[in-house]
Point group: C3
């Protein structure tokens, strides 16, 4: 497969007379794709039912004439003012009960039927007009579902939708009361229409109630996206894509992705490091101009799974951004490194956001490939270099990893509902595991919690899956892989209750979590032989083959029923020991990598990436800061 580059372009932002030159320069730089249209509703339909297609026809024609392929976005992330005037209650309501206002973007509630109707109309019109346009080679639905904390809405529309969802799920209110344990504080309902949204309660609401609301909210996104997909499918054969945003876990990307052809994500390594990775300050400082060395790779692997192998980077940071607490410029070479890392992980395309920096509005301080004065910004030279390298270098051959890591959005919901210890999150636990695997030089496949996804791996890591469906438990038990589970595996049943017989309930394993505790950050529990348990710990009982124990004698890593179970949250040393043990058992080779260096194996090659700002010596040779090495695999 030919890997390609692209960019995001807003013809409506620029004078008509610049379009040809822009298109020419894009093509000259080696770009293939140009994404357009996703925020242009006010220009496509300036008032209800009056459409203005001329400019978009023209723009597509100009871009196509330059040899570019268009990704056309549906503009539903930015309903114009007149849509909001028509449906004042379409605005999402935040957890404090305040309706959000027009004046930025994503100002809609996924549950609002009236707004959904407006989306149907604009998407239908777009699909009819451009579904067979020869230059429109892909479609994007909406933009960054969930960005700016927009999944959970506490509106009247959401409440009505939630009640319907509950009625369908539980069929009777008695069933709901029983499943949630509403007898606990006389929280029992007589009718579904008494169930409110779980915000602004006196003390915490029932975790079963909150989890149900999170699942409902996730399903509303799936429904919203599917409405667009169904319309587009009727008018086009081009692939359908959504651009997910990094570390947004408020809805199930696998479920949205199942309706689409290609997954994509928006990769802002420096913005994410400051805003979302949650790294300690010294790591934030060390990688301030490079980004976290594992955060991008994690998302690459995640979206390869979401896209069932087909995925893009739809927006790639090309310079400083505007939205993080601090917005430094990338180390020279990082734009190239980020691009190649995406390809090494299997990306079909990498598109830089955006072509030219806008001098106005919210993102005026967000770099583009061009500066506002149309001169080249530093990122463009690196993009051009990547394009040249793509043209010359051997193809990147896909590769199935030997190690897999399960990611389950529902588990993330459950942890968010009940972190048990301050600051704990499922994402954090999985990402710590991912980082440890990468420190060992491993390439990883991320998997959904799907019984059919498990075949062919030597080892499967599945930490923190708070609810595990019986078929998935069975599939893990039957897998040939060494499965690493815990902590909190199977800790809750489908309705957020502790299961009968105690967790984790893994088939074939005589193993029970007798008690759990969460720990202050200054209370690490030392392990015999090195490493510590942090944050969260479980007391186990059953027939335990202890691999690693705490100095106080309590088992930390136990072998039971063919699984390795971890009874707590391990620090770096503890996870390194676990991975060393697993790799030893499964015959997987482990590397010792210099600080900041990471590898990724493809079918034929090993890529080496240097995220540090210093030269590093590797077995593959010296590698400069921001450097990339490609070596044939032994």
């Amino acid at each position: 497969m030919q890997r390609t580059l692209g960019t995001c372009y807003y013809p409506e932002h620029w004078p008509r007379e610049t379009w040809e030159e822009d298109a020419r320069r894009m093509a000259e730089a080696g770009l293939t794709w140009v994404r357009i249209g996703e925020f242009a509703w006010s220009r496509l339909e300036p008032e209800e039912g009056r459409f203005d297609w001329d400019w978009l026809d023209d723009a597509i024609a100009v871009l196509g004439a330059a040899g570019l392929r268009v990704v056309l976005g549906t503009p539903t992330a930015t309903p114009p003012r007149w849509v909001v005037d028509k449906h004042p209650d379409m605005l999402a309501v935040d957890e404090q009960g305040r309706p959000r206002k027009f004046g930025s973007r994503r100002h809609y509630c996924f549950s609002h039927q009236g707004y959904l109707g407006e989306c149907r109309r604009i998407v239908t019109e777009l699909a009819r007009r451009y579904g067979r346009n020869p230059h429109v080679a892909a479609w994007q639905t909406d933009n960054e579902y969930g960005c700016h904390d927009t999944i959970l809405s506490y509106s009247d529309a959401a409440r009505a939708g939630f009640r319907d969802w509950l009625a369908q799920r539980y069929q009777s209110v008695d069933a709901l009361n029983r499943a949630w344990g509403n007898v606990f504080w006389s929280m029992e309902y007589d009718r579904f229409d008494q169930v409110d949204l779980p915000n602004l309660t006196v003390t915490e609401p029932n975790p079963a109630h909150v989890l149900a609301f999170r699942r409902f909210s996730s399903d509303q996104v799936v429904r919203f996206n599917r409405v667009q997909v169904d319309i587009l499918r009727a008018h086009t054969d081009a692939p359908l894509i959504h651009n997910y945003m990094g570390r947004i876990t408020d809805f199930d990307h696998f479920k949205v992705g199942a309706d689409l052809d290609v997954a994509s994500w928006d990769s802002y390594p420096l913005g994410f490091l400051e805003d979302r990775v949650g790294a300690p300050p010294e790591r934030q400082r060390a990688y301030a101009r490079q980004g976290d060395p594992d955060f991008q790779a994690f998302h690459h692997d995640l979206y390869r799974a979401v896209g069932r192998g087909r995925w893009w980077v739809m927006e790639q940071q090309p310079g400083p951004v505007n939205w993080a607490p601090y917005n430094p410029a990338p180390l020279p070479g990082m734009v190239r490194l980020w691009s190649w890392e995406a390809f090494a992980h299997g990306a079909e395309a990498v598109c830089y956001f955006r072509w030219r920096q806008a001098p106005f509005a919210q993102e005026q301080m967000h770099a583009g490939l061009l500066r506002p004065d149309s001169a080249e910004a530093p990122g463009l030279a690196e993009a051009r270099q990547v394009a040249a390298e793509l043209a010359e270098a051997p193809e990147v051959v896909p590769h199935r990893a030997r190690v897999a890591l399960v990611f389950d959005y529902d588990a993330d919901f459950a942890w968010a509902v009940q972190p048990h210890g301050r600051g704990l999150s499922y994402f954090g636990l999985v990402f710590d595991t991912y980082r440890a695997l990468r420190r060992a030089g491993l390439s990883i496949d991320i998997l959904p919690p799907d019984p059919d996804a498990l075949e062919g791996y030597a080892a499967i890591f599945a930490p923190g899956l708070m609810h595990m469906a019986a078929p998935f438990k069975a599939a893990l038990a039957e897998s040939d892989a060494l499965v690493v589970a815990g902590p909190r595996s199977g800790a809750r049943d489908l309705d957020m209750a502790i299961p009968e017989g105690l967790p984790p309930g893994l088939p074939g394993a005589d193993l029970r979590v007798a008690r759990v505790e969460s720990l202050r950050p200054d209370m690490p529990v030392p392990l015999s032989g090195g490493g510590h348990v942090l944050h969260y710990r479980e007391e186990l009982e059953g027939r335990l083959d202890t691999i690693i124990a705490a100095e106080d004698g309590a088992p930390f890593a136990v072998h039971a029923g063919g699984h390795l179970y971890l009874a707590g949250w391990g620090d770096e040393d503890a996870l390194d020991r676990v991975i060393a043990w697993v790799c030893d058992k499964t015959g997987i080779e482990v590397l010792t990598l210099p600080e900041g260096v990471r590898v990724r194996d493809t079918g034929t090659e090993r890529f080496w990436f240097n995220y540090s700002d210093r030269h590093a010596a590797t077995p593959a040779g010296p590698i400069p800061p921001a450097g990339v090495l490609r070596r044939p695999r032994a």
Copy 2:
């Protein structure tokens, strides 16, 4: 008196077929009491006026048949959904003006007349049915008044109630204007119905206004509780109890307690340490599995005063809880230590919360004496040991201490209204004093600010009493005890104004606070001879016999008119010096205790408790971590 144990049980949470076995196991473990019913309104009255008594009749019969004595709770802390549907405006409103929602507990405003009527009905029905039941040996009103910040409500009902309360208190609006100094910023009212609740003002509201609202809010709790007491008294002779929550000071427990027979409190040493004690991080870490070594004792002594000698621990932590930022497991032995400490301070009964951990709803991660699978949790063995020891060991004989410490809820309100320095609180000042007294090995009686309570003590500590009524001042002056007052004693008159002639206005003492200042935490003021003043300092004038002075010459501890007055907030060393001086003057013996060891004297014995996680050597012999020693008093 025979000290007893008990537990909290929710028959409505468990299948009917488990009740006999549960009751049998409770009795077998040596428990006497079982508290039930306090959250069961939705099961007792599933719809308005339709009562379902059968299950409760049955449960009481089963428990009684096993030899257990029932504490029956009124279920008014958890009004069911239909009650809220009937009275939508009964929900409390928070300081931001947001009505709180159904879905947890304590979702009522104390001022709502309609809800009060519902409470009257359910309590009347309960009292009629069970007032003479031979197994119902005590009653609990509601549950944890004030928990989850529920005393101060900014609802329409509260506003109407506040205006009535003001009208009764001040009689004329001119009197109110004068008392509050409303001329200050043209804040004068023409009618009582112009007075709003003191939230959401542009800058701070008048402190007199806020203090009045806090007093009103406290009085509403007294009224609410009294309605239940009056009903219950008409139908039962069993003792009436309320279970107060630790470090809730938003209403006057002495005033609620005056209507009841027994005080009780809910003791969660590990949860409180993480969430409420306010200890520095190193102390939080050192005692993370034991709890603060003085926090439980303080509340024991406080509720002994609130109960006029009769008090219980109604809920005792038996393992990890669910609600603190971090929820560790107790050090083995602590459940026993906590129980014995309560008895040493005079508790009649200690009840563990709860019998069996619930697998569902908000407290699913709160340990019980049984695990969710009905196996024994670690706490049960310790409870059983305490029961055995109670049966064998000599009776705990009450004891009047030689040192008293005054605690005044009204002073806590006043400090909360006007802390003057960030983070300062009356509770913090009193607790620092209490800790210092305990470090010196003293046993302490806590007293209300009641002129009749002062007799028989060698020394009375009364710090921080911002308003002191004239009779109480006079009683202190006439007391034979050495009285230790200040800082902020008598700093305000009844309506929160600085009194004429300046504070403290202690009879017989030529002493005035000429000026005060609050200090950054990094500005300790060194005292000559050791110790520092922190946070808050007063400049004194008058005829001063200085006992301790600052290095800058300003008096810190002065002897005046028979009182020792402290012109600031002393650190540990300063308070130790003050206590040494007081004990020297009054002939009270002082001990030097190892870190984490505390003592409590009864009429015949001295108890030694080791809160540390290390062995300690004491004059009474070696004591292991979590150890308890009983020794006859010399």
Copy 3:
């Protein structure tokens, strides 16, 4: 000119029988001025249209008879309850959408027409009655516009006003859409009445939208004040004054000041240090009893500019205040130092707030010159000393500085809208520059961004002017002074867009900001030769004569087109180097001052002030803590 002292007095707070004695003591202490009336609306107009002048007639007569000159305040900062009852929607609404409540002060929205009418009436009545009163020698409008975050109101009245303001400014909604770049996220409007206030949007609103709202809000203050000025001018020839509050920058003081005769500000050095200066903790501790050594001087110089040479300190801290997180007592001598520092900077009068500490209401813990018991507080002796010194010492002769510093409220708005890096502010940048100039022993004139204000200076510092109007740019370019600009100079056009041709666009300078970045606080960029760039950095291009470069080679200080341009935020060492270079070029003498010592030159003298709490050796001789030296200029 004879410099004078005064105080703030509230006859309505005190019994009539104390007024003569108070007046006598004021005069005896050497005070000239007494400000009264500014919070007395409820006493002047107890109900609508019923006025009670007798007490004020009397008070003015008593004060005048003692030889005092009255500053009479309009009481519009404290509308009484009945005014709010009449106009319930006059209350300002905060950014969260909550109406603010009656019960403190400043509870009005500047945009409310009904309230403006009430103000017109009370001011007219006051002006008619006292405009020609011989004792009323000055007037104060309202009190501390902007205190307690009261400029930005999100009320219906503000929204309506904003739409009108926009319509007048842009004339057509298309012009607004173009100017703001509303095409960006389909934010285009069809009518002005679709534009909402920029709060509660999903993510950040358009910076152009927010800047417009801030400018509108500032203009509303100007309009509100002008209404009062126009009325007062019709009835009196006495000077009109407003008392601005320290570090309130939410409205343009120059524009308000243009309508008045004298500027004044309220100086609370200790409160400001704790609450507003933003000093690091070690500086806060070192100066906790003295105040920041540059903060007062900065405001003195600022208000000298706002008052076009005529300015007062209307409220001077005389002891501990009540409103900061911590409220220490001043070091003895500081009240005198603060007073003399104001005179050295050109103040005509310094009035102490307040005469007697009020025992009631919100400011009961705010010191006065008298204690609540009417005894002298420590501040009074220092005030008396200043009065004596004023009587004896030579006159303070005005002086035009050689160095000027531009302060532009509009730039502060723009930075607040778009700080780009967390915690960055225009005020912080300008104040860092001011501090550096003071460390070098320089006296400074602060200037508005006015082309006509630039004449006569050797050097003009103009950092951070995000929008620079063309005439001002031209005036700077034509100035004989060495102009120091950057960072962020001219970074935006009038409507908050990046200007064509890139910033800064300084006439005659071949200089462009090619890219910017903001930096974590732990990422200082070292400069060759000493110092660092912090927080924010620009990449320059053009014909650059680099004076100071970073170790990575990037220019920091460049000489271009007669300007010195700074491409980043310099730390102390970097700014010291810049100032040394500028002073060397311009022949200005630089001093090396001991820690905490500052100087101020008048026409004939050099004043030395010691803000430290230690003795210091200076070229002018030794100076004790809180000491003041006056020396003839060489």
